[in-house]
Point group: C2
Amino acid sequence: MPSIFNIFIDSNTKLLTMDNFVFHNPVKVLFGKGETAKLSRNIPKDSKILLTYGGGSIKKNGVYDQVMAALEGYDITEFSGIEPNPHYETLMKAVEIIKEKSIDFILAVGGGSVIDGSKFVAAAVHFDGEPWDILAKAARVTKAVPLGAVLTLPATGSEMNGNSVVTKWETKEKLAFGSPMVMPQFSVLDPETIYSLPIKQVSNGIADAFIHVLEQYLTYPVNAPIQDRFAEGIMQTLVEEGPKVLANQKDYDAAANFMWAATMALNGLIAAGVPQDWATHMIGHELTAFHGIDHGQTLAIVMPAMMQYKRDVKGDKIVQFAQRVWNINEDSRDATIDAAIAKTKEFFETIGLKTSLSEVEVGTETIDKIEKRFEGRGFNIGENADITPADIKGILELCS
Amino acid sequence: MPSIFNIFIDSNTKLLTMDNFVFHNPVKVLFGKGETAKLSRNIPKDSKILLTYGGGSIKKNGVYDQVMAALEGYDITEFSGIEPNPHYETLMKAVEIIKEKSIDFILAVGGGSVIDGSKFVAAAVHFDGEPWDILAKAARVTKAVPLGAVLTLPATGSEMNGNSVVTKWETKEKLAFGSPMVMPQFSVLDPETIYSLPIKQVSNGIADAFIHVLEQYLTYPVNAPIQDRFAEGIMQTLVEEGPKVLANQKDYDAAANFMWAATMALNGLIAAGVPQDWATHMIGHELTAFHGIDHGQTLAIVMPAMMQYKRDVKGDKIVQFAQRVWNINEDSRDATIDAAIAKTKEFFETIGLKTSLSEVEVGTETIDKIEKRFEGRGFNIGENADITPADIKGILELCS
């Protein structure tokens, strides 16, 4: 059976092979309504727990009460106020509390920001030196406080990986680290937590998960059909189920499928042995750092411009994406790529997101600042490390 | 975007929801050529290892030498002779050696039989009572010797799960057990081990992996698109890559994709929250137990008959399978189901397998014995527990 997507493959494409890889994801997922009740089976009885959360929405939607009921009898200290794009400054306060009270387990209850922030806290407690180096200098994490999560917002995939993104408020730097030491020991994924989310968070979450897949898929072909088909399956699911959740947040099936798709989008599975890009994320992080724009929203703006700007080197995979995810059937490679970019943009608009910088009031001044920041870092980005600071400016101008 | 597969959905179908599930697969996979060299990073230095293997093919193809080179300095005891459909009688000898020599790590080097057998050994060592009860009475395994694997034959998925199938030679009983305690701590998957496999083992492996997917997929819809699309992606990959491996066993890419597909086919991912069948396996096990027919071969015979016999209750998923895996575009539900069964049978024949009992010289006498054996067990099989011993006879007559 020939692959339908080969018809427009660039004849200059070198046939590559997937890399060797290690896949190791020991996170235990407890999926489904009511699973929060099983927390105590997964945390040692004599644990001293730091319960971390955000702005208090978990107190309105009942999740806080579910957690407290499930943890009756435990020694619990609460740490609330972890903000979106969690701040280093805030998190360091949690580090102090853990040291002071000899806390030995962190339970993060919230979305990606709470879980990411809690991972940084878990690593910083045992870090010898200035914990900011974990982010700024990729200093190695050798020990961390054990961590569990109750996810309340599908988006980042943080519930099933060892990644974390933290912002230093003082300098407006948003940086990432990753370590197997901070993978949650377990994560509870209850789709009913979606029922009461602000609609904008659902939109952002759908875009975030979708673009996580694209960062690991829209590169160049390496003959890895399992990874490709899983990626395509996740994107098709987000395209079908995302709008259903937006239309009715209490559609349990749609919520469940959205939640599981977002987790699968960034748990290492579709990244195994294949090239990865992440340039859209790195540019998007700057838009958040400078203007506080929601993460998912920044990605929805940058990604279509990225596809357009890199359409030559990404062309083979854009064509595959067009044909398999969007059922696009144009009669040339160029028209197929054009249609894929248009469909992607249209999808983000359909789910309620903006797709240009002007709509979020970002102008040339910020573009110049972002270019300079990447110049200062002194390295290129993208799967081929061929996106220079000048290219980043070009990409941002394209979505102005 | 409407789901294309809905056009022939039975209007009587109840809309169901996926079940809550726990997904927890901590097996560390080391994937790619040369990965065997990393064994010593994954086994504690002071371990006393029992190296288990089969008939000695690993001595001819170089895998034994790779393993021994990687394990220089370890205390190693060898246990060879684990046969296909590993025998309880053989495995109990390994249990004795482990107890005698205080061995504390098992390294299984081989295909599914060696890994399955080693899992049973790992569980039996610490089992209080008659270890056959682990299989015959589903006695709970609470402790096991730590286990690692070097896979040499993609097929069973045993390298990334806690399942094991063992045969008692004395009574010709082939039974299964599963426990998280016997999941390998790590598995090395080097696609180059496929280069020297007997071609029949490759054919059997492709069918085994494909039918593992069908056992978890061809039931009834529960609105689980991630699980469905992953399952379809694994099957499409086996359909495309399997024949490439058979045409050229030294095609690294095809070998790698076949190997990763077979692992993904039975690691819990596509089973999460969805109904499972396994009736084809249970019937196939009897054909192996009575006649020694290769496992993959038994499944290739039984599955098309199972699809035909259960075409009514499995109809919705057979239609989805037809359209998404085989691109079948018939104008009625019945014709679509007929075409899917024909395509499946044809695929098994294309990869060199037989699809009827007469071709493997199994007649009515065996069919009667199998019916009686299921009668003796006193329970029905299949995802709806509606396949009676008489139905099993009917299915076997259909593939006679």
